[in-house]
């Protein structure tokens, strides 16, 4: 178990190192001049000396006036001090504060949709396997759901439930007429605005998990141990139970592998519903060429995914006894 954890943590540290390096490298080695680029967008002032001053200021902020290795070291230093620069689009708020304000919305959207779609997808997938008519209805439906681009399902739900039926709001995290407070009215509004983005993330995820579990459990039911158990006269329910506990392991690994895709899905879903999470910020940052904010979003997404991966690893150890006893359960 120590070895398993050690390897995993090493991989995560290397990943973080690589990600930060990419984050540092791209603005510096891409063709074009990001600072000049940013200023042409921002400055309405055509006074040349003022632009030069801003240019110098931002070059200094990026640290572009130092030798490369020094730039790299100071990038790490400021990262550990929690300095991610100042947002241009929401000037003068520091990028860190902008992102910290958005995080709760992301967590509120992502955690329930990931967990519930995983749980429900696995349950339904296991249920559908080897039952003729369920398999013929749930499986095709799941394939269609998992082939749907996240934003399109979001757009469809927003249009149908928000505009045609008019029963759900399609923008913001709570009613524009309210200020955040601890009243039932406000909490109701928050859930009302949360439901559609949650539903679109849930549905796409559900399809993928249901298919995965269906295929896995068929494979497990064909395995020798299942046949043997059946031959011993064990009830079908028990055989399925054992098959399920084996089939769920690859699904946990699958969850770790899918995280990047799910996060990407959440980003575009937030754009559709103007939901004030990182995805929505990112769109604004791109449209305003706010490079500090883009880089900050990048780092926050990476850190979030790494943390989630780590949590999944712990869950895997709890579920799979082989990893605990030093046998190789999952290849690290």
């Amino acid at each position: 178990m120590k070895r398993y954890f050690g390897r995993k943590i090493l991989i995560y540290l290397l990943t973080f190192f690589l990600a930060v390096t990419i984050d540092w490298m791209i603005p510096r080695f891409m063709p074009g001049d990001p600072v000049r680029n940013m200023l042409t967008r921002v400055s309405v002032n055509t006074n040349a000396s003022a632009i030069q001053m801003m240019y110098d200021y931002y070059s200094h902020l990026f640290g572009l006036d130092m030798p490369l290795w020094q730039q790299y070291l100071s990038f790490w230093k400021s990262l550990f001090m929690g300095e991610l620069g100042i947002s241009v689009y929401l000037f003068p708020t520091p990028v860190k504060d902008v992102l910290l304000r958005a995080i709760p919305y992301d967590a509120f959207l992502l955690v329930p949709s990931i967990l519930l779609s995983w749980y429900a997808g696995n349950k339904f997938g296991a249920f559908a396997a080897r039952s003729k008519w369920l398999d013929n209805t749930i499986s095709p439906l799941s394939y269609i759901l998992t082939a749907t681009p996240y934003m399109w399902l979001g757009i469809l739900l927003a249009w149908f439930f928000g505009i045609v039926l008019g029963i759900f709001p399609i923008a913001g995290a709570y009613s524009f007429t309210m200020r955040p407070n601890l009243s039932w009215n406000f909490i109701g509004s928050v859930f009302h605005h949360w439901f559609l983005p949650f539903a679109s993330l849930f549905l796409v995820g559900f399809g993928g998990w249901a298919i995965g579990m269906r295929n896995m459990i068929i494979y497990e039911l064909e395995a020798d141990y299942s046949h043997f158990l059946g031959a011993l006269g064990a009830p079908k329910k028990l055989v399925r139970k054992y098959a399920f506990s084996n089939a769920v392991l690859p699904q946990i690994t699958g969850l770790a592998l899918q995280l990047g895709v799910i996060v990407a899905g959440a980003l575009v879903t937030e754009v559709v519903f103007s939901y004030p999470g990182i995805g929505y910020l990112l769109l604004a940052a791109i449209q305003n060429q706010d490079y500090f904010l883009i880089q900050g979003c990048f780092l926050f997404i990476i850190i979030g995914v790494l943390l989630a991966n780590f949590i999944i690893d712990i869950a895997y150890i709890l579920v799979d006894p082989r990893t605990r006893r030093g046998m190789t359960g999952e290849t690290a």
Partner: protein, 286 residues
């Protein structure tokens, strides 16, 4: 079993697999639409053709027009070209890189495997889209080809992992040992002994990479980091949301692009399941 007989068997089971046939026909249909579609319409995808603005489908504009009076049909068929390009080039590149790394790691083993495996695991954990968007954000001019390139360069890890595992199980087989003893070079062993034995597997990997590249491109385009000189299905959806197609109820603007992607990717999945049944006798429904 002779190669000839095996080939016949493949054709026999392929032509009787409804999932495979349906998938292939749908893909071909959209491919033809993308190829000949643009010559069926006189309107440039970006031209403000209809002075009346957003209008529902009519005989003049088959799929209606956007808020700016652009022809949705023209945008859709031109966007389909971009979609197939991204799938073929991006997915193809992802598959090739996956093969390169998977074969090398699986066949060589040892330290090479350790290093490549660590690299694969690292790139596997990094959310692809985050990397793509930070690259795309700094590129002032983006073409479909740069999009394909970057998608391919980030999509290979799971393919490499899967191919490595397969290669691992094949390289200890007798016929590979025999080839090695007869003095065949490693590269030749990989291409003449190992790869043909997992051809079916590689085909499935390519199909999934194809679909994945399409979905990734749609996501990038939707965030506003699509090609700067072309139209794509993801960009159509982005414009429709940005210019209030939802609030105005101009459904003909945002339904076709998403529906096209869903059907294409769905058809790819269907092909995948069908091919799996053709190659794997255990899965056939008889």
């Amino acid at each position: 079993m002779s190669a000839q007989k095996k080939k016949n068997e493949f054709i026999y089971f392929s032509s009787r697999n409804p999932k495979l046939l349906a998938g292939v026909s749908i893909i071909l249909l959209f491919l033809i639409l993308g190829l000949i579609g643009p010559s069926l319409t006189d309107h440039d995808p970006f031209a403000y053709a209809n002075p009346l603005g957003a209008q529902p489908p009519s005989s003049g504009y088959w799929f209606g027009t956007t808020f700016f009076g652009q022809d949705v049909f023209s945008q859709l068929v031109n966007g389909l070209r971009a979609t197939f390009l991204v799938g073929a080039i991006g997915g193809g590149l992802g598959t090739l890189l996956g093969m390169l790394i998977g074969f090398t790691a699986g066949y060589r083993g040892g330290v090479v495997d350790e290093i490549l495996n660590a690299l694969t695991n690292i790139v596997l954990v990094i959310p692809t889209l985050a990397v793509l968007l930070i690259i795309a954000a700094y590129l002032e001019v983006r073409s479909i080809f740069t999009e394909c390139l970057f998608i391919g360069l980030t999509a290979w890890p799971w393919a490499a992992r899967a191919i490595r595992a397969q290669t691992f199980s094949l390289r200890t087989r007798d016929f590979v040992d025999l080839a090695r003893m007869s003095g065949m070079r490693p590269l030749k062993i990989i291409f003449t002994e190992i790869a043909p034995n997992m051809m079916s597997y590689l085909l499935l990997v390519f199909i999934l990479q194809f679909g994945g590249a399409i979905l990734t491109a749609a996501t990038l385009d939707f965030i506003g980091l699509g090609p700067t000189n072309a139209i794509s299905l993801g960009m159509m959806m982005q414009y429709s949301v940005m210019w209030g197609a939802l609030q105005l109820g101009t459904w003909w603007w945002f339904i076709p692009p998403g529906l096209a992607i869903t059907i294409i990717v769905g058809a790819l999945y269907s092909m995948n399941v069908g091919l799996d049944e053709v190659f794997n006798p255990k899965l056939r429904e008889m």
